[in-house]
Symmetry: D2
Subunit: 122 residues, 4 copies
């Protein structure tokens, strides 16, 4: 499976089968899944906790492998939540991206992080 | 765009273009993106914070719409991180799912949450 | 040490000494500490992930011990952040509590979670 | 109220009264409170999301004020959880600190973050 040959539906279906075959729908409720995603997000973050921003850009293969697994967990639970809620992810993600494109016009925000300006001492 | 017609690569490409056109690669570093995913995961969770597990299964359309947007944000930052790290998401997710299939044999874990057993008073 | 005999300053001082003796001020920056708190919060949450709300109210002593340690980690990093930023925690917490008391008048909110009303189907 | 004159018990009592007067014990269950702490931790993190580690060390007074409020929220929910579980925070925090003192002998770890060594390319 490769990103350019795999649809989101294929991954959703695989995850749905995994949950159904284990009779885990009773645990994979929206409230619980939102916690699961947050927990996996924290495990991803743990890898970067003590690194500088620069260091986080130069990861060795072992670190990269572990980080990939954490990211996979986030996606996996997200797929399961989309399955439970009957959400089309491509549609939802695309709509949010279009919203962001309008919200942050490229001419105005290029190279800028507004937060930077707000937080710093003069 | 629909899940059965959209590949992960299409979403990754769209996100890469969004970041590049705004010259935001300097902010979208792995450390920062891991924080972004965790922040969006918490915003998703906020919707379920005071609901019972049962209530979280019966959401009205307005709530569902808002929840979809939070889930989209999580996916969006995950796509950006995968872009930065050069990770193939389909491959990574598939490998993790296969690992989970072996780790949790369906005959043994059906309908069980091990955590449940561990935490409760007898 | 007991809660009715221990001031916040005593805990802050003990934590400051721990960090200083290890020359860890360079890692205990606000950005990193905010990540640490979020990571420990997720580890706390992990204990409740698959429990119902009801089950989470009946924990056995082993679970309670582990949960206490996670909560301690959250407090520990919060103390370190307060040290770094020069924040008086008692003052800050008290001010926020007073704000909440005004924001949620007891006569109006008694027994109600507004979120409940918002999210449910009629 | 100042850190050197305020015991943890005083803050716990104030928070217990706030919850009791609103009949909110039904919502302030351990599962929900663990989510609340994680959500507030993410709101704290949001302030540092796009800052470099260095920038996060030089905050202006307005930013500092907002950050203090987020930190207060984390403490507030932690106090509520300690109340619900009947945990003595000073005792729990002190025990965890003693454990950390033994786990990280100052002579061996001074100025080092093990994570740093692990993650970087040679």
């Amino acid at each position: 499976m490769k990103d350019d040959q795999t649809t989101l539906q294929e991954l959703k279906d695989k995850m749905a089968r995994f949950v159904r075959e284990r009779d885990w729908e009773q645990f994979h409720t929206p409230k619980n899944l939102s916690m699961s995603i947050a927990i996996e997000a924290a495990e991803l973050m743990e890898h970067f906790q003590w690194l500088t921003v620069e260091q986080s850009k130069n990861l060795n293969p072992t670190a990269l492998q572990e980080i990939g697994e954490e990211l996979a967990d986030i996606i996996i639970y997200s797929l399961s939540l989309a399955n439970f809620l009957g959400l089309d992810l491509a549609e939802t993600v695309n709509a949010k991206m279009e919203k962001n494109i309008r919200k942050y016009p490229k001419e105005q925000v290029r190279g800028k992080s507004h937060k930077y300006t707000f937080y710093q001492k003069e």
